[in-house]
């Protein structure tokens, strides 16, 4: 394919616009910016279970989370997750938050979107446009949301499911949450976007699930970045869902900024080892971008949930942190 002329013409775009785009970061409320990563996508296996319905009984809820992790983790999911069912109906569609599962710093939520008239709904390409929010505790405004992943319904044409991971550097467990979705859009295969329903859909609920977080005794272990900068593991915790890390750069090792493409998630590997020797990979779900605060906080999500009692060690860039 020949390079379109418009692409070549763009080389004449003004220099100041080009250099500004290299450094640009959207406005945020504070100096300490929490960056959420799309890490879970690499870990997620899209295995659909047969029938998915909301049941507040043991065994029912794991079927919802089987959308994300497959059906092999029912026992731990049933132990930790909580069914919800709060819903909002407008514009011919009903949106409901079906279940939550999480730890102290992050939560996985499953939503259902269903057409009220029972007509078929596109099973792929649906997404919510901007201006939606998720507020926690009335204090945190997580602002722009991410990781709202679409799953086709395994058994009904008039519904789809979405999953969302909310991750934050401070504890979010137990907080009241308010969620707003609006502007349901359809991304066609040819790249055009068409509006489907305007909404909005508001829902309120509490992040009240079984928190399995365990604080780890860190001994000042040090990890080194590819640029030979050392970070001390200041604090770490692990749960059935993932882990939370706080890293402090050592003296004479100024924190690397994301503008240089050196986010921790770009070079740091995190995994967990089980007592029977299995390795469970983890993907970064978010990290703070340093401006003034000398501590970098990062959260990771395991590729699938695991009983925290079955974990033997957290491994951060090859450095082992034993789990008592």
């Amino acid at each position: 394919m020949k390079t379109p002329r418009v692409t070549k013409s763009m080389n004449y775009i003004d220099d100041d616009l080009i250099s500004a785009a290299a450094d640009y970061r959207p406005q945020t409320g504070g100096q300490r910016i929490w960056k959420r990563a799309a890490a879970i996508a690499a870990c997620v296996a899209l295995i659909l279970s047969s029938l998915i319905t909301v049941e507040a009984t043991t065994g029912g809820i794991s079927r919802l989370f089987a959308l994300i992790w497959g059906g092999g983790h029912a026992e731990i999911v049933d132990e930790l997750a909580v069914p919800l069912g709060n819903s909002a109906s407008t514009d011919g569609y009903t949106m409901s938050v079906e279940a939550v599962l999480g730890d102290r710093y992050q939560v996985v939520m499953i939503y259902r979107l269903r057409r009220n008239d029972g007509q078929p709904i596109p099973q792929e390409g649906l997404f919510f446009d901007t201006q939606d929010y998720l507020r926690l505790g009335g204090n945190y405004d997580l602002g722009r949301r991410s990781l709202t992943t679409l799953y086709p319904s395994p058994d009904r044409e008039d519904e789809v499911f979405f999953s969302e991971i909310v991750t934050y550097p401070r504890p979010i467990f137990g907080l009241p949450a308010q969620v707003k979705f609006q502007n349901l859009m359809l991304l066609e295969k040819n790249g055009t976007v068409t509006p489907v329903a305007r909404g909005p859909w508001h829902m309120s609920f509490t992040l009240d699930y079984q928190d399995s977080t365990v604080e780890l005794p860190t001994c000042g272990q040090v990890i080194t970045s590819p640029r030979k900068k050392d970070y001390r593991i200041h604090r770490a915790s692990v749960s059935s869902v993932g882990a939370h890390l706080e890293l402090v750069p050592l003296l004479d090792a100024p924190q690397e900024s994301s503008a240089e493409g050196t986010l921790i998630c770009d070079w740091c590997d995190v995994s967990a080892r089980t007592t029977d020797g299995r390795t469970i990979r983890a993907g970064f779900s978010g990290e703070t971008e340093w401006f003034l605060d000398p501590v970098t906080t990062a959260n990771v999500v395991f590729e699938y949930p695991v009983d925290v009692n079955d974990l033997d060690a957290l491994i951060v860039n090859g450095t082992e942190i034993p789990i008592p």
């Binding site: 002329r5 080009i18 640009y24």
Partner: protein, 184 residues
């Protein structure tokens, strides 16, 4: 090192100019090349060619914006290499952002009297009317050829939001180019 100091090295024909350029802008130039070529070796060669080009052109050229100067060279060289590879049927899989832009201004719809420089200038004017978020997402996608996922991660937007922003910006650009007589 400050750009002015790097330029001084070029003027003095001190080969440390290349070393300092690489230290400061090497990663960014590599990213631009690799986004287009999807091949580490080709991208590294493009970056090295960029240094050669800057070495040969400074002086007499004295770029006021070193970052844009280098990135433009890298982008040009990478596009040329990509065209060469396409001619050799060694095409990369991902040329999506080309297709997206092509819809905005197909080659056969460009006013024959218009030069590339004028199109670039008009796109600059258009981008200055956009919000900073839209403008920079657009440039990251179609100038730096970042993937949707990379943009979403960098700007902390959802991928859906990035796609939607790009769609709307392309639509507005199409109208603008028509209004300005670039597209017929």
């Amino acid at each position: 090192m400050e750009d002015t100091q790097i330029l001084q090295l070029y003027i003095a024909r001190n080969e440390d100019a290349i070393k300092e350029t690489d230290a400061k802008y090497g990663r960014l130039c590599f990213q631009v090349a690799n986004n287009l070529l999807y091949c580490q070796q080709d991208a590294e060669e493009c970056v090295n060619d960029t240094y050669l080009c800057s070495w040969n052109s400074i002086p007499p050229k004295m770029p006021s914006n070193m970052m844009a100067f280098l990135c433009k060279i890298t982008r040009n060289l990478s596009l040329k290499r990509l065209e060469f590879r396409q001619a050799q049927k060694r095409t990369p899989e991902q040329t999506v952002s080309f297709e997206e832009l092509k819809e905005v201004l197909p080659d056969d719809r460009i006013n024959s009297m218009i030069e590339d420089r004028d199109i670039g200038r008009t796109i600059s004017q258009f981008l200055r009317t956009e919000t900073p978020d839209s403008r920079n997402v657009f440039l990251r996608r179609y100038w730096y050829f970042d993937s949707i996922r990379t943009i979403a991660r960098t700007y902390r937007f959802s991928e859906s939001k990035v796609k939607s922003m790009l769609f709307h910006t392309r639509r507005r650009l199409k109208e603008y180019l028509k209004k300005e007589g670039i597209a017929v």
